[in-house]
């Protein structure tokens, strides 16, 4: 369906990224393991580095990399974290 834009067209239609964080220190960052092999190795090291910079780290796990994260999990991460890092290791 083609629609006519009712706005002043001052913003692009495509979805914009979320605002970037000014700093990570003191914030909460989620690490999402998508269950790809050795993703945990990458995330474990990342967790160490983040902890050293005074970042609270929360770990999350997708049961399978073959399916998108569930709405509940996405909502949980959005509610608990300022940002998320997703490990795509293999």
């Amino acid at each position: 369906m083609e629609l006519l834009d009712p706005t002043a067209e001052s913003a692009p239609i495509a979805r914009q990224g979320a605002p970037r964080l000014a700093a990570i220190e003191g914030g909460t960052i989620g690490l999402l393991d998508i269950s790809k092999p050795r993703g945990d190795v990458f995330l474990d090291r990342l967790a160490e580095l983040l902890a050293a910079r005074n970042v609270t780290v929360r770990r999350y796990l997708k049961p399978t990399h073959a399916r998108p994260a569930s709405a509940d999990l996405r909502s949980q991460i959005a509610g608990e974290c300022d940002a998320v890092v997703e490990a795509l290791a293999d």
Partner: protein
Amino acid sequence: MSRLAELDDGFLVVVKSDCETCQMVEPVLGAMSARTGVAIASQDDPSFPTGLKVIDDTALGLSWDLQTETTPTLYRIEKGKVVESATGWNREEWQRLTGIEGLGTGLPASRPGCGSKIFEPGTFERLNARSGGLRARRVIVAPAVDPFEAMMSLGWSDGLPVVPPTEDRVQRMLEGTSHDPAEIVCVMAPDLVECTVEKVAINAVIAGCKPEYLPVVLAGCEAVATDLFNIHGVAATTQFAGPVLIVNGPIRLELQMNSGINALGPGNRANATIGRAVNLVVRNLGGARPGGVDRSTLGSPAKWSLCFAEDEEGSPWEPLSIERGMAEGVSAVSAFAGHGPHEIVDQASRDAASLASSFAAQLRSVGHPKLMGFLDALVVVAPEHARVFTDSGWDKPRLRNELTERLTFDGDDVVRGAGGIAEGMPQHRVQPRMTKFRPDGLWFAHAGGTAGMFSGIISGWTGGPRGSQMATVSIDNWK
């Protein structure tokens, strides 16, 4: 989409009653109509030819799509396309095209037609501009996506569902005005965006308006965008107000607007969608979004829609638009920065003095009982209260004077701290006697059901040149 595509295969004759050749062939059209599938489109009078089913093409959309140069023109249509045509009256050609023998035997063999209405000065330009296409950005919604959800995600809505603004719907909406879609209606704050007729029409579509409401929506936008009304301040304030629209004049009846039972409530499409469309223009074009420039602490339903018609027929008083300087018989919309209503319940007063005292007691509370000359108000007087004033022989100026008298207080009583209430008039602004409303800060309109001794106060925002003043504009200019 071309209007031609909607026609069945067969014959179409474009005529106008103001054409001697068309008048001459009237019996031929009757004969053809009896014999075969023939459609007749009239450019100027759908009751011509008499007794036949006629397509109303007074808007000239069909004639424009056909680029009809002459009336009458006989077309043979197949699958939405013209395959053959004959202009003016020519028996031989008409017989060959239709396959009907003996057409118009009593008539001359041929007669030239008349000029088509689409080429009349002014009309051609208008139609040409319109067919030049709409300029708004196209937003493609993928087939798997629900357009209603997409529009919500795009931020086009006030929170309620909106109608998808397809080109067909917007083109139909534009039929509601003779103005060019590219014409600038107003510059809308806070983003100071030039609002075209087309953009306002798109917002009228998403609000749920019918095309005939469009002139009121256009006038409403013009009114709120005036310096007088100051939509920037109204939208940005932490206070409650939104653009309240009061409609006067013949258009109220043409659009079947509600000025009776539940006039300030839901249930009438025109009341609901006209007010909503203007608010959506303020949001989508002006850029005043709640939490953005709109900083209202609590907001109010007036920011969705608070639009009603005055009950002029039942009113003992002159209509608001006349008081506001518009001529009689002119349709007009007045924009008032307000919210509410806050009720006046008085079921016991049978004389005007008593009822006016009730009005004054409630009106004192607008904003705060100790704030004077600050917030305006519009009182919607319902029939049973209006009757009490009329029975006592009070007209509108008398009521305003009596209320002003009752709403004038000693400065000592309204100064900050008086009565143990910190709020009130700052010491440096206190005068010996202080009046609640500015000289043009108290307005009246007549509306409501005939049962109920109630009136409604629509509380205003900061009045006067420092805030918002009522703005009244002609709707007829936007037809």
